[in-house]
């Protein structure tokens, strides 16, 4: 272990953490919210309400019988004015429940802290809370807490790396909600019978690390540790984090549970800590609003279903005409086509860029410099993927293990020829999937 390299390749993508010092502000309830019925990986929910119904805060408005899902709850109280089908940020069509707020924010009387005595009830409670992976993957969290090899899982890794530039919402969570993080982690460790817990935090957030260390000392917690990570991208990727903390290689398709750990985002754990106390399901989300086209970049808590437009209005409106709006960070976030789209559960940032910052550089010829290979955390060869994809060579893509790519975007970032390598990787992966589903 002493002479073994414990670090995967990473890049310096800049930090741009302008909002790290901005305490979270709670956004007032907007006039209307539109709540998407597909906010998790897996099956979309079916609306449980119809036009004209009155709903209360925290009332369940979407659910389904499918296995992989979480229910969806109303984030405001008011009247359902429509069930609409609209294009979502991914480009597909979604059912959305439109609720006109009455401004009362009357809480559903059925909401009370969950009563939990064993692991099974814990998993059921997590499912009822509507919690998905809030780091961005939106994987239903309850399934993560119900691993097949429950006895083999010994470690909880909490992901507080926040390696994406610009985003500071996890950082603020760790400062403002640290007690909830600890309570949530202790609950997970209790019901899953885990031995220890590591909170991976990049070393550009020393205040968060100190905060946790002090609290562990004060509360006499001796099985939770902070784990400082070098501040470089992509330290917060699940597979990278597992390698950094446990020194185990996590290939694509391998569940962290198979390696004896559970990885969860720090905001998910903080929500869990809060939920176990008051039983309020996931109806609002802390997020960073930043970018050169926003007048007042800040961290806010907004109800799920708020329009991006309303969020930006709350942050002082547009300083310049926006050209690109991202849901999530600049490295892996999704560019959306309109500012009329609603916030979903896994949004941790809204970044608004003007024409200058949204500029897409011109692509030039590959000069074979190998920077993409040096930047790749898994030492893959993105330029090889791109060539193989252009030739339609599925065999070569498989040889180069394109499925190991996690689309972190490091290769595109470092490419001096500005080739869209990460995009080609995605296309290559799609091509391999298609070929294998055709029985090739």
């Amino acid at each position: 272990m002493f002479f073994k390299s414990r670090h995967l390749n990473s890049i310096n993508a800049g930090h741009h953490k302008h909002t790290a010092g901005c305490a979270t502000e709670i956004m007032p309830v907007p006039a209307t919210v539109r709540i998407s019925m597909s906010q998790n990986i897996g099956a979309p929910c079916k609306p449980l309400v119809k036009k004209g119904d009155t709903v209360l805060v925290g009332q369940k408005i979407g659910d389904t019988d499918a296995f992989l899902h979480v229910p969806i709850h109303a984030s405001v109280s008011g009247k359902v004015t429509g069930i609409e089908t609209e294009r979502n940020a991914m480009g597909g069509m979604d059912t959305m429940v439109v609720i006109e707020s009455d401004g009362q924010q009357a809480m559903d009387p059925e909401i009370k802290p969950p009563v939990i005595t064993n692991h099974k009830e814990f998993v059921a409670a997590v499912k009822e809370s509507g919690l998905v992976g809030l780091g961005g993957a939106s994987f239903p969290t309850w399934l993560k807490f119900d691993p097949k090899n429950k006895d083999g899982v010994k470690t909880l890794i909490i992901n507080g790396a926040e390696c994406e530039p610009f985003i500071t919402s996890d950082h603020r969570t760790m400062l403002e909600d640290a007690q909830n993080v600890i309570d949530g982690a202790l609950a997970v460790m209790k019901y899953l019978e885990l031995d220890d817990c590591y909170i991976g935090i990049e070393d550009n957030k020393p205040d968060a690390i100190d905060n946790f260390d002090n609290m562990f000392a004060k509360q006499g917690i001796n099985n939770m540790y902070t784990f400082p990570l070098k501040a470089s991208y992509p330290k917060g990727a699940e597979r990278v984090l597992i390698y950094e903390v446990l020194g185990k290689t996590c290939d694509a398709g391998v569940l962290p549970a198979d390696l004896g750990c559970i990885v969860s985002n720090v905001t998910s754990i903080a929500f869990l800590g809060q939920y176990l106390k008051d039983g309020i399901p996931l109806i609002s989300k802390r997020m960073t609003v930043d970018g050169d086209a926003v007048a007042e970049p800040k961290n806010i808590v907004a109800p799920i279903g708020t329009d991006i437009h309303d969020v930006v209005e709350f942050c002082g409106g547009y300083r310049k005409p926006p050209k690109k709006i991202l849901m999530g960070g600049p490295m892996m976030g999704r560019a959306v086509f309109s500012d009329r789209l609603p916030i979903v559960k896994n949004n941790n940032a809204i970044l608004v860029f003007s024409k200058e910052q949204a500029w897409i550089p011109e692509e030039t010829a590959c000069i074979n410099c190998g920077r993409c290979h040096q930047a790749c955390p898994f030492e893959l060869l993105p330029t090889g993927f791109a060539d193989a994809y252009e030739m339609g060579d599925v065999e070569r893509l498989n040889d180069l293990q394109v499925m190991q790519c996690m689309e972190c975007g490091s290769c595109s970032f470092v490419c001096p020829a500005h080739r869209p390598l990460a995009f080609m990787n995605k296309l290559g992966k799609a091509m391999v999937r298609e070929a294998s589903s055709n029985g090739k």
């Binding site: 995967l8 993508a13 800049g14 907007p30 530039p165 290689t249 290939d251 437009h309 309303d310 209005e313 005409p321 926006p322 050209k323 690109k324 709006i325 991202l326 600049p330 490295m331 892996m332 976030g333 999704r334 560019a335 959306v336 086509f337 309109s338 500012d339 009329r340 949204a358 897409i360 550089p361 030039t364 010829a365 000069i367 074979n368 410099c369 190998g370 290979h373 040096q374 955390p377 898994f378 030492e379 893959l380 060869l381 330029t383 180069l400 293990q401 190991q404 689309e407 975007g409 595109s412 970032f413 470092v414 490419c415 001096p416 020829a417 500005h418 869209p420 990460a422 995009f423 995605k426």
Partner: protein, 356 residues
């Protein structure tokens, strides 16, 4: 919200990442030019006006040929990325600062300029553009340009002017390179190691001053333009090969120690310059780190084999050309053996399981 609020419905949609580095090909090339500057400045200090003329002619003609070829064939003009300037500068620094001595043996006075232009033409048009331009050439353009000139204009390419400091008190204007002395079988009159290190010797313009080349190497490595693997492997192989060869054969001519001869081989000729600036050319060297190791070692071996056992006194350019051609093979070999962290781990685990 006010009803007159403007929505934005036609935003740019693109695949992530939405941030890219500011380091582009042009900047990379400018950094390489900057790293070549110490060697270029030292060549001007040592050889004066002829060095300036040859550098200017080579850089200008390389840029011109790139521009003209792409203009004539109606391709996007890439001359602004600066790669042609790098090729021109490397080619110039690989030539002797020899502007007047050819006319003394009966050639027209403009001949050296013409030779430089021919070298640029071979490098840019034949080696680079005919194979598809930037990123597609299989061999280093400047190296092939130099080899072509060496084989076509051997007389001019083997007349090495003395440096301004060597000329003091001597009648001659040209002299032998250190490797020339060695090929003649005697090191009597050859320059000292200190002179070779500072570059006060006969030779190609940019190759003589080891210190200037080292400064360039430090610039490139510090800016992460090149990885140190190839230069280190190349120079170490030359050093070790010479050390072992002379130790086994009982020292150099005039009884020099094997260690002295090893240092001599590293400083003499184009080893340093080739290792830092020519062998590290992105396009024609392997991507995989293990491929780079094999590439550097191969360059060193071929260089020493040519120097010690073949009729040419110098072998760096041939060695680099040879390894350029082997690059795709080295890369696919390295891919087979050392590719991807998960595969490597798995194989290590399998090997351990076998042992147990």
């Amino acid at each position: 919200m006010a009803s007159n609020t403007k929505y934005y419905d036609n935003l740019t949609v693109s695949s992530s990442p939405h941030l890219v580095t500011s380091l582009d090909t042009t900047k990379t090339m400018l950094y390489v030019v900057a790293a070549l500057c110490p060697a270029a400045i030292m060549s001007i200090v040592y050889f004066g006006i002829p060095a300036v003329v040859i550098i200017a002619v080579c850089m200008a003609s390389c840029a011109f040929f790139e521009w003209a070829y792409e203009k004539i064939l109606n391709k996007p003009v890439t001359v602004r990325d600066g790669s042609a300037l790098v090729t021109g500068l490397i080619l110039a620094l690989n030539l002797p600062a020899n502007l007047t001595h050819l006319s003394e043996i009966g050639y027209p006075i403009f001949m050296p300029i013409l030779i430089c232009i021919i070298g640029s033409f071979v490098a840019i048009v034949i080696v680079k553009q005919l194979f598809g331009g930037m990123g597609r050439n299989f061999a280093n353009p400047a190296i092939v340009g130099r080899i072509t000139l060496f084989l076509s204009f051997t007389a001019w390419m083997s007349l090495w002017p003395l440096t301004n400091f060597q000329k003091a008190g001597v009648d001659a204007v040209t002299g032998a390179t250190p490797l020339g002395y060695l090929a003649d079988g005697s090191l009597e009159g050859a320059p000292s190691l200190l002179n070779m290190f500072t570059g006060n010797i006969g030779g190609a313009m940019g190759e003589t001053c080891a210190i200037a080349i080292l400064i360039g190497a430090i610039i490139l490595i510090a800016l992460k333009i090149i990885s140190p693997i190839i230069p280190v492997c190349f120079v170490c192989t030359v050093f070790l090969f010479a050390l072992i060869y002379y130790a086994v054969t009982g020292g150099g001519p005039e009884g020099q120690s094997a260690l002295y001869m090893a240092c001599f081989h590293v400083c003499a000729g184009g080893v340093m310059f080739g290792a830092v600036f020519c062998a590290t050319d992105y396009v024609t060297s392997p991507i995989m780190p293990m491929g780079k190791v094999m590439f550097g070692i191969g360059c060193g071996l071929v260089t020493m084999i040519i120097r010690l056992f073949c009729s040419y006194p110098e072998g760096v350019s041939f060695a680099i050309l040879f390894m350029n051609i082997a690059t795709p093979l080295l890369d696919s070999f390295a891919e087979d053996k050392f590719y991807g962290i998960s595969k490597r781990k798995k194989e290590a685990a399998a090997a351990e399981a076998k042992k147990a």
